[in-house]
Amino acid sequence: MSEAGGTSGKDGEQPHKRHNKKGIAMTFRRMAAVAAALMTLAVTQVARAEDAPKEIKIATEGAYAPWNFVNADGKLDGFEIDLANDLCARAKLKCSIIAQNWDGLIPSLKVGKFDVIMAAMFITPKRMETIDFTQPYAIDPTSFAVAKSSELGKQGLSKDKVKLDDEAAAQAAVDKLKPLLKGKVIGVQSGTQILAFLKKYFGDVVDIREYKTTEQHDLDLAAGRVDGIIVQQTTATATLAKPEFADYTLAGPGFVGGILGMGTGAGIRKEDTALKATFNKAIGEAIADGTVKRLSEKWFHTDVTPVK
């Protein structure tokens, strides 16, 4: 614009005819530029209307090993990072993965700071009032971890899975655990369904301490400030493998379903239906061809693939 204006200004004194050719060329160039700009705009509009962005941002917590954590090189790593990369490759999406505090995940998703949450988040009706979830890509039982020398610790981890949807069975399992946990201080990550579970079923017998991250309650378990923690079995297994936790063990049954949700899925804004469909398809494929099982065994040494 300014270039064209400058030229005509400088040539203003000279006879018009001599410069007609140049003027027309300039007009054409200008028109071409405008057309190009319009086309770019149109393409962007179309892309928006399609509602399936080619480039997306995935957020994780980065403090929940081995699901998602920051490795020794300072990079995000873990089961969900591998899975996210696999799903993006399947869906032909260009994904960048960022870390975000657990507290801020859902609020930030809602305001559009990123497009997908993959942070070991349980799918629950409460959360589904606010955001939407893909189908689950993992189901991982929740258990207590306590000192081996404690009454509960002596029992060790049972293979039983208590389905909270079956209220009678759930109550029986809870009643068996209650006397062993009476008066104990139990650490749990705040804002989680595990906390909701602990409050609902054991709130009357245990003293609950809430932590921002699981790493913090692990530290306090080792320091002896809490008698036990309650966590997903996969993360607890990874923590308890460290030498400073040699005296601690998972104990009692594993709890699934009910208030603990319908497994772990990716969180997506309600209006992003196309993105949800893309992810559901990719997750379905990854489960069907055994990718989820392979990654699960790589990171957890056990299979967390959801069973239909």
Binding site: D103, G224, R225
Partner: protein
């Protein structure tokens, strides 16, 4: 957008954390004041072996964030459990409550000792000389002449410090204490309505600090009878 019914629902829940917030700030301001006064008086002398450790303590606690101090005292010292058990202090460091009070106390003591040190130094030298000349002992001079004037002078600056501690108690939520801010964060995790919850929590702190400022202003007027008309 903003729903008044929701405010009515969350404010009582947030107020449930107020007793803990008040305990944390009352106890730490109380302990902190005693410690600060001792540190300020100890610095009136010239003994290098007294001055040097105090100056170090003050500059460390004034020069580092309260958040870092709380983390160090709670998680940092938590790793020295056998040593702390050996000297019989673990019962205290085991509890997040006492760790928060220790951190807040040491922090406010460092700041307040500077306020008090300055205030004591600003009492005109002639007054204590006159008092000694009248036959009062050094302790009597301090108790009856220097300290009343110094404390009165320090009050405006000290009320600032109290407000900082009230706000500082919000950091206790990071070591599992569910005071007002801790409850606010829980409520956000349940409702995802950060705006309303933090506005309500902020209003509680604002009101609390307003009351403290008013109380200290009244105290200041009472302690300044010669300025009354």
């Amino acid at each position: 957008m903003i729903d008044p019914g929701f405010f009515l629902e969350i404010i009582p829940k947030l107020l449930a954390g107020l007793p803990l917030t008040l305990q944390l700030c009352t106890l730490s301001v109380l302990f902190g004041f005693v410690l600060a006064l001792a540190l300020a008086l100890a610095q009136q002398g010239n003994n290098r072996f007294v001055l040097w450790p105090i100056r170090t303590f003050v500059s460390v606690f004034r020069g580092t964030p309260l958040l870092v101090q709380i983390f160090l005292i709670y998680y940092g010292l938590g790793q020295f459990r056998p040593n702390l058990q050996a000297i019989g202090l673990w019962w205290m460091f085991r509890e997040p409550y006492w760790c928060a009070i220790i951190a807040l106390t040491l922090n406010t003591a460092a700041y307040s000792s500077e306020i008090l040190r300055g205030a004591i130094r600003n009492v005109p030298r002639g007054l204590s000389e006159a008092s000694l000349a009248l036959g009062l002992t050094r302790v009597q001079t301090l108790r009856l002449v220097v300290l009343p004037l110094a404390l009165r002078q320090a009050l405006p600056a000290y009320s600032n410090e109290i407000i900082l501690i009230v706000k500082g108690t919000s950091l206790a939520s990071i070591i599992t204490l569910t005071e007002v801010t801790g409850i606010a964060q829980d409520l956000i995790a349940q409702t995802y309505r950060a705006m309303e919850v933090f506005v309500a929590a902020g209003a509680i702190y604002l009101l609390l600090n307003f009351l403290i400022v008013r109380a200290l202003q009244l105290l200041e007027v009472r302690l300044t009878p010669y300025r009354k008309r």
